[in-house]
């Protein structure tokens, strides 16, 4: 069996390689890697096609994939936006099905595989049975790659030209706080009326030795917090001991990303907010009334 892995960016390709390895016995893996990376010491990697450029466009990537897709049973990539775009374009040209954000794989016989992926805003999962060839993007940490490996031949290639041109880049600023590993997370939503009011959540998080996260609009729309605070199916998944969504209505795309929390305590002044269905305890009260008093009591408690 032959797999083609798109390692873009190369640092995020581990799970794609791991998935490819699990597709069969002795899968031969060819890697298309960007950013000049040539080192993939994993079992089964026989060929590395290295592209010096760190930032090819999806159009360019899809053409590179097409060039090396002949005889390939599976095309695999990390579930990042550019890789997803590139793989989707290649899949259309190859006439093959594609499965996005796969987090489970079962091999069956006769060239068929069974994969599962999240759907319906992360509230459900679907399991597909598919023939090969097919394309897949894989969820982070779902398929750790196995070593050791070596002796892959390395070829350097130029990027093909494409219609679309990148004319500007602006790097995003991040806080560096890793909410994915935090034991306590305080979530802020649109119930907070001004950016300055976030200090209430920050103080609470500090008293509980936790981190502050948020729903999509707080970061993507309002820019009140950097995007690494975003809890959502398109943001970060958290699995703390305690998650406190405050002033968050409870959209499924947000709550699914917090479903692994051991305990969820919500605060929202709207009794009908969906968040209460996803919580262990829900306080129907205005956050502006509760938080100052709660914070004060926590402070007193700490002193005592």
């Amino acid at each position: 069996m032959k797999a083609l892995v798109l390692a873009h960016p190369a640092s995020q390709a581990g799970d794609a390689i791991g998935f490819a390895q699990q597709l069969g016995e002795d899968v031969e893996i060819t890697i298309v890697a960007t950013g000049g990376v040539k080192d993939f010491p994993y079992r089964g990697v026989t060929r590395i096609i290295s592209v010096g450029d760190a930032g090819p466009t999806p159009g360019q990537l899809s053409q590179l994939l097409l060039k090396h897709a002949s005889g390939v049973d599976a095309i695999v990539a990390p579930s990042l936006k550019d890789a997803t775009d590139a793989i989707a374009r290649a899949s259309a040209l190859l006439g093959i099905p594609m499965f996005t954000e796969v987090n489970k794989l079962d091999r069956s016989s006769e060239g068929q595989v069974t994969v599962s992926r999240p759907v319906v805003a992360g509230r459900a999962f679907v399991t597909y049975r598919t023939s090969l060839p097919a394309a897949f993007t894989v969820a982070k940490k779902a398929f750790p790659p196995q070593g050791p490996g070596g002796n892959a031949s390395v070829v350097e290639e130029q990027l093909p030209s494409a219609r679309e041109r990148r004319v500007g880049v602006e790097e995003k600023q991040f806080s560096g706080v890793n909410i994915e590993e935090a034991e306590v997370v305080v979530g802020v939503g649109r119930g907070f009326k001004r950016k300055e009011d976030l200090t209430l959540a920050e103080e609470l998080a500090r008293l509980l030795n936790g981190a502050v996260g948020c729903s999509r609009p707080i970061t993507a729309d309002l820019g009140w917090l950097p995007e690494d605070a975003w809890i959502g199916i398109s943001g970060k998944r958290i699995r703390p001991k305690l998650y406190m969504p405050i002033g968050i209505s409870g959209a499924p795309q947000h709550m699914s990303a917090a479903m692994d929390a051991k305990l969820i305590i919500a605060i929202n002044k709207d009794k009908g907010a969906p968040v209460f269905q996803y919580a262990d305890y829900g306080f129907v009260i205005d956050l502006y009334k509760l938080l100052p008093v709660f914070i004060e009591k926590l402070r007193e408690r700490k002193k005592a």
Binding site: P58, G59, L80, K81, D82, T84, D85, A88, R89, S91, I96, P97, M98, F99, T100, S116, V119, A121, G122, R123, A124, F125, V126, T127, Y128, T130, S131, A134, R163, E164, R165, R166, V167, G168, E171, K172, R216, A220, K241, L242, A251, Q253, S256, M259, L263, P274, Y278, A279, Y281, G282, F283, V284, I285, K289, L290, P292, V293, F294, K297, L298
Partner: protein, 266 residues
């Protein structure tokens, strides 16, 4: 400019229903206009109002049973028309149910060809039910149009070029594309308008055409995967509601809970 918007009648994630084993009862879950497709429609309307032209809604029904879903899909089309689109075209065919992006894109390509092509095709970054993030990219290559995904901003210039700011994980990238182009948009690109009652009524008179795959002269190609399971990810939560209006009492209750649950030391 002739602008097409791919709008999907999606199963509503806020209206999930499952049986006692957690199997989704999809047939009883209502269809609604997919969230980010509303942003795509809004963007198309803004471009039309600035540049002139037409906004045409294209849709492929991918949920059954067809008899019931057809009516729901038509309602979704009327909602799009009520926002201000000029006409809607809906593909209804057993062969597209349940949906597979491989085939959905092939069907939509045939529809675009039948309608004579467009300058710009917009759609949401992904649908709110299956969230595959594939159809925009697939359709672009089938049509041989240029493409850009995850657009947070779109600027149509007068020189046949479109500038798109793409919202990626660690950065924003500005791409320049020649028309014709397919662009998928994020939820942050704009705030979709809410149709007025008058617009909703007017929408009933706007053209809505339906097609089978045979009408479009297309035969779907490639493997259709089978669905083995569609299940709820259930996490049992206590769902205890505390309606204490006195903040001091509520705070005390909250601390008590945190102590009992081992978050705060007793």
């Amino acid at each position: 400019m002739n602008i097409a918007v791919l709008a999907k009648a999606s199963v509503d994630p806020n209206m999930v229903r499952a049986d006692s084993e957690g199997n989704l009862l999809v047939d009883s879950m209502p269809l609604a206009l997919s969230e980010y497709d509303k942003n795509a429609i809004e963007e198309a309307l803004r471009i039309r109002d600035a540049k002139g032209g037409k906004v045409v809604i294209l849709s492929a029904l991918t949920w059954g049973p067809l008899a019931k879903r057809q009516r729901e899909a038509e309602q979704v089309m009327r909602e799009a028309l009520a926002m201000g689109a000029d006409e809607a075209h809906l593909i209804v065919d057993e062969a597209l149910v349940p949906g597979s992006p491989l085939h959905t894109a092939q069907a939509l390509k045939a529809l675009v060809d039948k309608l004579g092509g467009f300058d710009l095709v917009l759609t949401g970054e992904g649908s709110m039910d299956t969230v595959s993030y594939q159809v925009a990219s697939r359709l672009a290559v089938l049509l041989d149009y240029s493409a850009a995904t995850f657009a947070r901003k779109i600027e149509v210039n007068d020189n046949g070029l479109v500038r798109v700011v793409r919202d990626l994980e660690t950065r924003y990238e500005t791409h320049e594309l020649p028309l014709p182009a397919v662009v998928s948009v994020t939820g942050e690109i704009n705030k979709p308008r809410l149709p007025t009652l008058l617009q909703i009524r007017r929408a009933m008179a706007k053209p809505l055409k339906k097609y089978t795959l045979q009408d479009l002269g297309v035969r779907l190609e490639g493997h259709r995967p089978g669905v083995e399971e569609l299940k709820l990810l259930r996490v049992a939560r206590k769902q205890v509601i505390i309606e204490e209006s006195d903040p001091a009492k509520a705070a005390e209750k909250l601390i008590e809970i945190l102590e009992n649950e081992g978050i705060l030391k007793l």
